[in-house]
């Protein structure tokens, strides 16, 4: 696809992610909407141009929960097939903060990897489309969500790939709140020490976490200087500029892990949410009028067809 068409397609995916998550939030009286607002372009850039992965042969319908990994559970499988499966020459994608799962599922639908009715199974008992996804959930292949562990598991994969001498990279998506975690800095230190440059980290720097604004809970800035001082390579971009996101990811490896700090707006595209600041982690309607405002917004949302 030509560069210009790719950008148009990526923006369509981003808009679709917001619309699907908004629709879901209205229908279910709540949801992780601010995460979709901040990260829609990041997920869109990842799935339309950054990730070197295969398409499944057809959109996959989410499977029912099939038990946890255990000896004797032969039917167990991860959600890696939504990303086209695991291959040494292709990238592996890890979503670390799985509170973004709803956003990931919407991205999978918008990019033709998951069937459009897949979100109907979201948070339904017995479904793999879990609210805070596990490695059996669509698009996931690693157990993340205990914040801070996604990066280190990706680092292990990246080290393994370097030991094997294979070209596939490991792409990790993180939230800025995860930089409050000591383990995150252990992982950066490790990557720098071992010169792992086959790791690409996208950080949704939306300045939001469960208790409110990151700066009020536990400041992590200056994030770029902190990461650089630990030996990481940092690119700071406008997290809603798909061209900038994709461009930063194509920097030639130089022996350092690459962190793309995507500065984002947690209310992007849903301005009526701004009145709820600083508590944006999970949207729940306060009254009927509140709900109507979001319903009206959804009704007016342009439906971009693929």
């Amino acid at each position: 696809m030509p560069e210009k068409d790719l950008r148009i397609e990526a923006q369509r995916v981003a808009d679709g992610i917001r619309r699907r998550v908004l629709e879901h939030t209205v229908r279910n009286d709540g949801g992780y909407l601010s995460q979709a607002c901040s990260s829609a372009e990041i997920l869109a850039a990842l799935y339309t141009s950054v990730l070197r992965i295969e398409m499944p042969s057809a959109p996959i319908a989410p499977r029912p929960y099939a038990g946890t990994p255990a000896p004797g559970n032969a039917g167990y499988r991860t959600g890696a097939d939504f990303n086209g499966g695991v291959r040494d020459d292709l990238d592996r994608f890890i979503l670390s903060p799985t509170h973004y799962s709803l956003v990931l599922y919407a991205a999978l639908i918008e990019t033709g990897r998951m069937t459009a009715d897949g979100l109907d199974k979201f948070n339904v008992d017995g479904s793999s489309v879990e609210m805070i996804g596990a490695e059996h959930s669509p698009g996931m292949e690693v157990m993340t969500g205990s914040l801070g562990q996604g990066l280190a598991q990706g680092v292990g994969m990246a080290l393994g790939r370097r030991l094997k001498g294979v070209p596939g990279r490991v792409v990790v998506m993180m939230s800025d709140g995860e930089f409050q975690i000591g383990m995150t800095w252990e992982s950066i230190q490790f990557m720098a020490h071992h010169g792992l440059d086959n790791v690409l980290v996208f950080v949704d720097v939306n300045g939001q976490q469960c208790d409110g604004v990151v700066d009020s809970v536990m400041g992590v800035e200056p994030l770029d200087a902190r990461i650089a001082s630990f030996g990481g390579r940092v690119a700071v971009v406008d997290g809603h500029d798909i061209g900038a996101l994709a461009g930063a990811s194509s920097l030639a490896p130089d022996g350092r892990p690459l962190f793309i700090l995507a500065r984002t707006d947690p209310c992007r595209g849903v301005d009526i949410m701004r009145s709820r600041a600083p508590k944006l982690h999970y949207l729940r309607f306060k009254c009927c009028g509140d709900r109507k405002a979001y319903t009206d917004l959804l009704a007016a949302w342009p439906t971009g067809e693929r």
Partner: protein
């Protein structure tokens, strides 16, 4: 005279790993202390230095498994089980990945004090789904536990011994998963031991047998699963009951699994658990701490007397001399 082997893991690991290119060793700044220095020097490309950062190390180990490697994590037991428990649970145990964790300094085998004494590790690791828990007691088990651990397709936690290690079992009788060793058979009391307590029980049981007490002495190296062949018959062999002795808290370790097994199997006999009793410990020599916590040969004699309801007139002098190790042994990297 019992043979003592110096640093059995150090040499064995190098030999064992030679033809296993998928095996990596991960270390958190305790490479010599965990006898992985030989591996590091022999296979530097397969040795991964992780620094004092155990949480990252455990999750990295999980990631390496997902690319087909078998990481052998080497550090002190406390740092695997306490410091990185969430990482072990979610990055390793949940996905049932073949990370092999070698926890050194189990229980009170170190004078390093409470910070270095893993007295709760078996309880913690047993609680994790998918986890297999092993404990070594001598040089033969230290040498054979690599095969045992790597034959398990999932995660394994091993209580490891280092330094000057006695050889209690012949080198050609390796550890076998789930198979307890019956060291002595008798009809009065069943004694179940693991780790360094087995050597203590060997001393006591010899004297007890000479006094006519029928002891069935069972050595256990697989603490989870605890369902091996013949276990119920062994537990039921002692007519007066069962005594367990372990280098661990009495809650959650050998005493707990034996008690649970007896109840499940309907073995209606008293179970007396010798071990550390709801207490932390402190820095002191091994013999002192074993005496203090009641997990040495004399403690076992006292428990047998209590269970039999008679005094046997056995004193310290009757037992073989307690093995005292100098704190600053030449076999250790430092005096921990």
């Amino acid at each position: 005279m019992m043979e003592t082997v110096s640093r059995p893991h150090a040499t064995n690991l190098v030999r064992w790993a030679a033809a296993r290119p998928q095996v990596l060793v991960l270390s958190a700044d305790l490479t010599s202390s965990c006898e992985a220095d030989g591996f590091r020097d022999a296979y530097p490309e397969r040795f991964i230095s992780c620094g004092i950062a155990e949480q990252n190390m455990m999750s990295v180990a999980g990631g390496l498994c997902r690319e087909g490697f078998i990481p052998l994590v080497h550090t002190f037991a406390v740092f695997i089980c306490r410091r990185a428990f969430d990482q072990v649970a979610m990055s390793v145990a949940y996905p049932n990945l073949p990370v092999k964790m070698f926890g050194f300094l189990p229980g009170i085998t170190t004078p390093g004090g409470a910070t270095h004494q893993a007295i709760d590790d078996i309880a913690l690791m047993r609680a994790l789904p998918n986890m297999t828990v092993l404990e070594t007691c001598d040089a033969t088990e230290v040498e054979s536990v690599l095969d045992v651990a790597c034959a398990v397709p999932g995660p394994v936690y091993v209580r490891m011994l280092r330094g000057e290690v006695p050889r209690l079992f012949p080198a050609d009788e390796p550890m076998r998963i789930g198979v307890p060793r019956v060291i002595r058979a008798g009809a009065d009391v069943t004694v179940v031991t693991s780790g360094i307590c087995t050597e203590e029980a060997l001393r006591a049981s010899a004297v007890l047998a000479a006094r006519g007490v029928g002891i069935t002495h069972v050595h256990v190296s697989t603490l989870k699963p605890f369902d091996g062949p013949g276990i119920d018959d062994m537990l039921a062999a002692g007519g007066h009951g069962v005594i367990t002795m372990e280098n661990h808290l009495v809650e959650g370790g050998l005493g707990t699994v034996v008690t649970q097994r007896c109840v499940a199997a309907g073995i209606a006999r008293p179970v007396v658990r010798l071990g550390i009793r709801d207490s932390y410990s402190h820095g002191a020599g091994r013999a002192t701490l074993m005496r203090e916590h009641g997990i040495d040969a004399m403690a076992l004699v006292g428990a047998v007397e209590g269970m039999m309801g008679e005094k046997l007139g056995i004193s310290v002098d009757h037992l073989a001399a307690v093995r005292v190790e100098p704190v600053h042994s030449a076999a250790k990297a430092e005096a921990l």
